[in-house]
Symmetry: C2
Subunit: 212 residues, 2 copies
């Protein structure tokens, strides 16, 4: 059985944006504000450092029943017993990840467009990250912004759970939820916020309002 | 039972140095010249690209009975069914790699000094890469050059198979073998050679002469 996960408000960490406050302190504040899922993303970190970071987050999240997802590094996810991995189109295939992590792991896949969706082998995929909704400075290799309409276009193609991602803040979160998806993923809106707890609360409020 | 491996002349690939000739063509020429083990190293490549590179090398090496080792990415090694992984001190632990790859995989570990050797948990490690023997431009984060004497200092501490690495060419290969190790690992001496086959032959000749 898959580890339970809730896409409602999905925090993706950024190493530079959390540097001043610290990774664990930022995530703890975000959890206090209502984050429901956390992805550790640090593409430049070495494996051993990522393992240490993931272990710290796992200890922090487990008492709250919040799942920890590791970006890209399936081997790191295995080493720390994370709940799952999130994979981009340039990463290992979802099937290769599943072969390492087993049937219980959560496997997420990034999809930018209906064409990319059509070209992806979705066997073993548990949810999709669809975006970027807006242009973002966080991820240099992200594609062109697709807007809430682009999210809706992928939504129409699949029953898989979807989280919109890319440049999402409280102002646009409602429109993304309005595209019919299960949640929104944010980076800067929480990691770069002066008050990550308040930022998470504002996002949760916007999501709740849009869900009606 | 471990996959068989022969450390005598261990080629570590460099993506920039093989770019003009191509990875597969360089490795094929090196194998024709007498390379006995190959490590795919491309620290900037994404997982999916690494998988494609590793598959191409595996197809090339398997008919020769030469083992393929993947640098750092244990998940990639698992995905392609490589014979093993080589880990630096900043990478996943050998034990974490073994847990993913199983009892048959070859697990190598880089060690720079007797102090680093003493600080390393060697359970599950099949061989050590000891160096850098000489200063090298290939690896920005390599430690200070230790010379053949430094290799001999680690040799004195363990019965594990050892390969000297770092700035090794045919001129110094004999001195490294003279330190009592099982083989030498090279990058530039083959990858940047005008004739990789001739370069490998020259290294094999130097190793044979030193073995007496």
């Amino acid at each position: 059985m898959r580890h339970p996960f809730d896409l409602t408000l999905y925090l993706v960490t950024d190493p530079r944006q959390v540097a001043a406050r610290g990774l664990a302190a930022t995530v703890a504040a975000a959890v206090a504000g209502g984050v429901t899922l956390v992805q550790l993303r640090d593409p430049d970190a070495h494996g051993r450092d990522l393992v240490a970071q993931a272990r710290a987050l796992k200890a922090l999240l487990k008492p709250h029943g919040i799942a920890l997802i590791v970006n890209d590094r399936v081997d790191v996810a295995h080493a720390v017993g994370a709940d799952g991995v999130h994979l981009g189109q340039d990463d290992l295939s979802p099937q290769a990840a599943r072969a390492i992590l087993g049937p219980d792991a959560i496997v997420g896949l990034s999809v930018g467009t209906p064409a990319e969706f059509a070209a992806s082998d979705l066997s073993g995929v548990d949810y999709l990250g669809v975006g970027p909704v807006r242009a973002t400075g966080t991820k240099a290799d992200a594609g062109a912004a697709i807007g809430p309409e682009g999210v809706a276009a992928v939504r129409a193609l699949t029953a898989l759970p979807i989280v919109g991602i890319g440049g999402i803040d409280a102002a646009i979160a409602g429109a993304v939820i309005g595209a019919g998806v299960e949640g929104v993923a944010v980076v800067s809106a929480i990691c770069a916020a002066a008050d990550p707890k308040a930022a998470a609360e504002a996002l949760r409020a916007a999501i709740s309002a849009a869900r009606g």
